[in-house]
């Protein structure tokens, strides 16, 4: 496997400016196939923008973002997005669609047959721990936050995309639900060999889910390390994060 084949997403000298403000400055980053990369940082650090540069909700002001070796601006945006699963906080589900229709959306857009979509929806709902018979015909507002988040993940996986983008997917959940969903998600990506880029401000979540952690600050990538290296890093920003962890630990 060559380097180009190993890398699913590459950022090369990417900058992004929005009405005169630099959101991302000179970002270089490679996401390898099969890994879960967590972008960690406080709000406004540019981590969500980084995510949106991948599925071309934004286009870089300078530099290049490559997905499967091809610049995002060279991709047909519709085709690109249908190869990328996207999960946002609260799930971003369509309130006027049933759960089944939400999950089956991308296959439906891709023109799958109804039977195949139904089958896939049942399979995915089971996969994320929701009984298809109980949930398929319900509407998002009838579900709890955790259940909606599971549906969001199922929807992102529906057309079996090679890449998942997750923007604070577990942020709005209570701690217990969050912990169990994090575990399940870690299992799932491993089992399905998915590549994922996950954005969070929760260092604990980063340590649980990541193969590599990228710490972002003011539009720049400060470091990119494995969780083990991250825990022992002398970087002041990293220390600050780890101190919050110890504080929390001290409560027990």
């Amino acid at each position: 496997m060559s380097d180009a084949d190993k890398a699913l997403v590459e950022f090369q000298n990417v900058s992004f400016t929005l009405s005169g403000t630099n959101i991302i400055t000179d970002l270089n980053l490679t996401v390898e196939r099969g890994e879960t990369l967590v972008l960690l940082g406080e709000s406004g650090c540019g981590k969500t923008t980084t995510l949106k540069l991948v599925n071309r909700l934004f286009e870089p002001s300078a530099g290049e973002v490559r997905v499967e070796g091809k610049s995002t601006t060279a991709w047909d945006p519709i085709a690109l997005r249908r190869r990328i699963g996207y999960v946002i906080q609260e799930g971003g589900l369509f309130p006027h669609f049933t759960i089944a229709r939400n999950v089956g959306l991308v296959p439906a857009l891709a023109g799958w047959e109804t039977n195949r979509i139904d089958e896939r929806v049942r399979e995915l709902l089971s996969l994320v721990g929701l009984e298809p018979d109980r949930f398929a015909e319900r509407y998002p507002r009838e579900l709890s936050g955790g259940q909606r988040q599971r549906v969001g993940v199922a929807r992102a996986l529906a057309a079996d995309p090679p890449l998942l983008l997750l923007d604070e997917p577990f942020g709005a959940l209570d701690p217990l639900t969050r912990a169990s969903l994090q575990r399940e998600f870690a299992d799932l990506t491993k089992r399905l060999h998915k590549t994922a880029i996950l954005v969070t401000h929760d260092v604990r979540e980063a340590l649980i889910l990541a193969r590599r952690i990228g710490l972002m600050h003011k539009g720049k990538l400060l470091l990119l390390e494995t969780p083990e290296q991250f825990l022992t890093s002398e970087q002041p920003q990293v220390r600050a994060y780890l101190e919050t962890l110890e504080l929390k630990g001290g409560d027990h």
Binding site: Y86, I88, H96, R155
Partner: protein
């Protein structure tokens, strides 16, 4: 007559007016939705257009409805009289709430949901059709609901341009001082508005996805489908009727009238005589101001009753003169050369302005002529209709000719002046000499001793091409020449205004009696 009796006698006419009203509102709202929703969508895409377009729609809505109809009448294609003008005005009124709510509804869609839709790989039109429009639908339907309720109200004004609807009863009720007519028209319109509000409210609730347990998407689409089918059916029916009537065009005549009882009566007389001769007649009665003239000139009407003095002064703009023969000849010749319109033989009566006082005053003060009354004028209040106040041969010229100065001059609806006089609200009014209530209310007509008012001989005006096309038309006009005396006309008028009888019945009985 009690309101209940009135309804029993007139329910079929009332129903057909309700039907006209509903069809007008329905078609207008349909057109407004077809224009308004795409416009609204466009405005969400082009922010810079939003201010100007919404501003324009806003201005449309602030124009008083009667004035808007007035502006539209002289315009080519969209103007004139009848359904088309009414529809244009109604659509203009309905646009603002529909456009505005489309914009608000779409911009109000949760940004997360829209972003998710784009990120799922939806195309622009998929985002619009599958996400933005369905989620905005509740707000859009609210806009349609508001527009519909407004349109039900505005449509009552459409009767003024001959488009029919419940306004016909309201205007007629105002004119004839008939509370039953007023009540039937206004009450039905109010009930229609409430019903429209209720049903659109039900529809709107179908789209509130956040609150309801289960959005019955299927029901909505069935409902929309049913509405669509209904539209096609109604549209087809209207088209078919229009087509059918045009194909039988050779023996079809459009008869118009002005907006007062006598004009409508004369028009009805001609209409029934034509129908007796196998001609199909379209009645476009009770048109305001100079509308009948304009409609006759542009071919919308084939025939309407007029008075020589009115043609002479108001249409041809000559200064009044008193010789009836000379006025008639002049009018006949100029109408033929200027408008290709033929003036019929005089019908045999005059309907001139009648200066009326209470009979008791005339006897007490020994008043016979207008000159006799002049010295009393400074202590009197006068009541004049809008028409008399505004025309050159009306109040301005009249008061100068007799040197009259009143303590107060009130402008009011012509039909109300008689009651106002007899109930001492005013002391002198300008009425019509053929008014049926002159005798019954014990009013006295002062003689025009200086012969100020021009002769107002009743005639029919007919298009020359219509006369050539429909031979029966000429036959009818010939039969009516010198056929109606002043007394007969007063009597006929009184049957309608005083006895509240149905004009069609009155005319039918009179024609039978006269064997016409």
């Amino acid at each position: 007559m009690s309101f209940w009796q009135f309804l029993q006698l007139n329910w079929s006419e009332l129903l057909s007016l309700v039907q006209q009203h509903v069809v007008l509102v329905f078609i207008a709202i349909l057109i407004a939705v077809v224009i308004g929703v795409p416009t609204g969508i466009l405005l969400t895409r082009y922010r810079s257009l939003r201010g100007p377009v919404l501003g324009l729609a806003n201005v449309m809505q602030t124009i008083p409805s009667l004035a808007l109809f007035g502006f539209l009448i002289p315009l080519p294609f969209i103007g004139g009289i009848g359904t088309r003008t009414a529809l244009v005005a109604l659509v203009l009124y309905s646009l603002l709430p529909i456009i505005r709510n489309t914009v608000v509804g779409i911009l109000g869609v949760d940004a997360n949901v829209r972003e998710a839709a784009v990120a799922m790989g939806m195309t622009g039109s998929q985002v619009l059709r599958q996400v933005e429009l369905p989620l905005a639908m509740g707000v859009i339907v609210t806009g349609i609901r508001v527009a519909t309720v407004i349109a039900v109200g505005v449509t009552t004004i459409a009767a003024a341009v001959g488009a029919g609807g419940l306004g016909v009863y309201i205007f007629r009720g105002l004119r004839q001082y008939d509370n039953n007519l007023l009540l039937a028209g206004a009450l039905s319109a109010a009930l229609l508005a409430l019903a429209a509000d209720f049903f659109l409210g039900l529809l709107q609730r179908q789209f509130s996805f956040e609150a309801k347990r289960s959005a019955a998407g299927a029901t909505v689409w069935k409902l929309a489908l049913a509405a669509g089918v209904l539209v096609v059916l109604i549209g087809g029916f209207v088209w078919w009727r229009g087509g059918a009537s045009n194909s039988a065009g050779t023996a079809r005549v459009s008869v118009g009238s002005k907006d007062f009882t006598e004009s409508a009566l004369l028009a009805e007389i001609a209409a029934q005589m034509l129908e007796a001769r196998g001609v199909s007649v379209e009645r476009r009665f009770e048109l305001g101001g100079n509308l009948p003239h304009e409609a006759l000139v542009n071919g919308t009407l084939d025939l309407y009753p007029e008075y020589t003095g009115t043609s002479y002064t108001a249409i041809l703009h000559h200064t009044p003169m008193s010789d009836p023969r000379a006025v008639y000849e002049q009018v006949k010749q100029e109408y033929a050369s200027k408008f290709n319109i033929e003036v019929s033989q005089p019908l045999g009566f005059e309907n001139t302005f009648a200066m009326l006082v209470r009979g008791e005053d005339a006897r007490r003060l020994n008043l016979k002529t207008i000159s006799d009354a002049a010295p009393h004028a400074p202590r009197w209040r006068a009541g004049f209709g809008q028409d008399f106040m505004s025309r050159a041969d009306g109040y301005p010229g009249f008061s100068k000719a007799y040197g009259l100065k009143f303590a107060e001059v009130r402008e009011m609806d012509l039909s109300l002046t008689y009651i106002a006089l007899s109930s001492h609200q005013v002391d002198l009014v300008a009425g019509n000499s053929t008014e049926g209530r002159i005798a019954t209310l014990d009013l006295f007509q002062l003689a025009d001793d200086r012969r100020y008012f021009p002769p107002y001989e009743a005639v029919y005006l007919a298009r020359q091409d219509s006369l050539a096309r429909v031979p029966a038309l000429r036959e009818v006009l010939a039969k009516l020449a010198n056929g109606i005396s002043t007394d007969e006309m007063r009597q006929l008028n009184y049957e309608i205004d005083g006895n509240k009888r149905d004009p069609k019945e009155v005319v039918k009985a009179w024609l039978a009696k006269r064997a016409l």
